[in-house]
Amino acid sequence: MVKFLPLTEAVAENLHDGDTVAFEGFTHLIPTAAAHEAIRQGFRDLTLIRMTPDLIYDQMIGMGMARKVVFSYVGNPGVGLLRRARDAIENGFPRAVEVEEHSHAGMANAYEAGAAGLPCAVFRGYRGAGLASVNPNIRSVTCPFTGEVLAAVPAIRPDVTFIHAQKADRKGNVLVEGIIGIQKEAVLAAKRAVVTVEEVVDNFDDLHPNLTVLPSWTIAAISIVPGGSHPSYTHGYYERDNAAYLEWDEIAADRDRFQAWIQKNVIESSADDFASRVEHLRKAA
């Protein structure tokens, strides 16, 4: 059954050295607070899975926590490159990382297959693309009905998935709305799921019946972390801090400046600090 836990305990109970882990969120609802807690607890040899690695994987790779990264877009959307990830891939600093690269369609389908309990995903993809020749996990199957050759990729099945969401009810059911990305599939594909939420409400009685709800029994732990997706955003709560994404490009460009930023904003901080980081991004009611 789902447990309501402080984030320190939720992370310590569910993440282990050597795990395959997904911190998902498609631009919206990125579980930054959970990733920072993982950095504070200092896990090693992780396989990090995510469609768009974004700032939190740049930070975890920069701290030498990743053995391997599985991704489809290793950039800072609209800004440029992920400089810590680049340093690891190009120079092996602070350690070399193995890379498994897909397209968005490939990863979305692989998560769906994981959620559906299938061994692989089949879709019309990668035709003419160079990725199929550098990633041995991109193969093909022939449709038994039409003879069409289709792409196949193995299902994604993380040991644990972390997501951020708007709210939970007291029973531990979780609501996700807005740009819902790949989070539902990432939770259902994983052995365990940990969710940080903005708030807990008594019940979901007044919600529209078609909203995305993850039932409590699909989740291992819920932690209440207001502001927990900053500098990403939470629809209905606070806006995306686009300036912070622009600023990250400068911070991550320099190894020492990166370390100093992590020390101040992650190591010497806690999940409770996130609420104040989004104060200026909350819309006037």
Binding site: F26, T27, H28, M51, T52, F71, S72, Y73, V74, G75, P77, G78, V79, G80, L81, L82, A85, R86, I89, E90, E101, S103, H104, A105, A108, N109, E112, F123, R124, G125, Y126, R127, G128, A129, G130, L131, V134, E148, V149, G178, I179, I180, G181, I182, K184, E185, T212, Y233, H235, E239, R240, D241, N242, A243, A244, Y245, E247, R277, H280, L281
Partner: protein, 267 residues
Amino acid sequence: MSDAKNMGFSPNEMMTIAASRALKSDDVCFVGIGAPSAACNVARLTHAPDITLIYESGTIGTAPDVLPLSIGDGELCETAVTTVAVPEMFRYWLQGGRISIGFLGAAQLDKFGNINTTVIGDYAHPKTRLPGGGGAPEIATSSKQVYITMAQSKRGMVEKIDFFTSFGHGDGGDHRQRLGIDTAGPTLLITDLAIWKPDPVTKEFTVVSLHPGVTRTQVQETCGWVVKFAEALDQTPAPTELELKTLRDLQARTKAAHQGTAKGKAA
């Protein structure tokens, strides 16, 4: 080179406006970030008010007031007709054949419209690791047509790209059909200097229109392959006042919005 500036607009503005003119109200457009996003929104705010803009985060029929910094900014969802999950976006809407125009940018481009946004140098030991394909490998093959926009440079427009992130016309001719791809592929390239279309047979991009003040020499000097020019070479009409004002207002709103969220800069 600064002829365009003397005319009251920059080469980049001309590129964005020329690209916006290629879009129609009944297009369903899968929009990349950067110049494609600017062009699509200028089209929506001028001659193509009913164009359907789709961003890969799942927003369908979005109408943002400012340009998004990322493909998932909140405003895209708030102004959309509907927002779907990412697997649905790629399975039903893109793979299902619902997109008329895939609009892509490029780090490296060759004369057959093949795009590289993955690595400069060798894949295993890259000189520069770029962000990679994201949605582009399938946008390039599942959209009915692909439009490409980029600023010209010898580093960007090359004889041979280092990596095939998104397949264009391959080696040219019927290469797409031979791979079983039944969509048209790149049908239009808009740069800061010219408008290019593929030759009907060889599929090599050919300059069909020069932007105001641009010479053939300038196009060749900023391109890494030997440029072919159409026999009847047009001149791109200069931006109208309305087009320029729409683009500049949009970019000013965007700049203010993205800086406005800076921590500590509010005061």
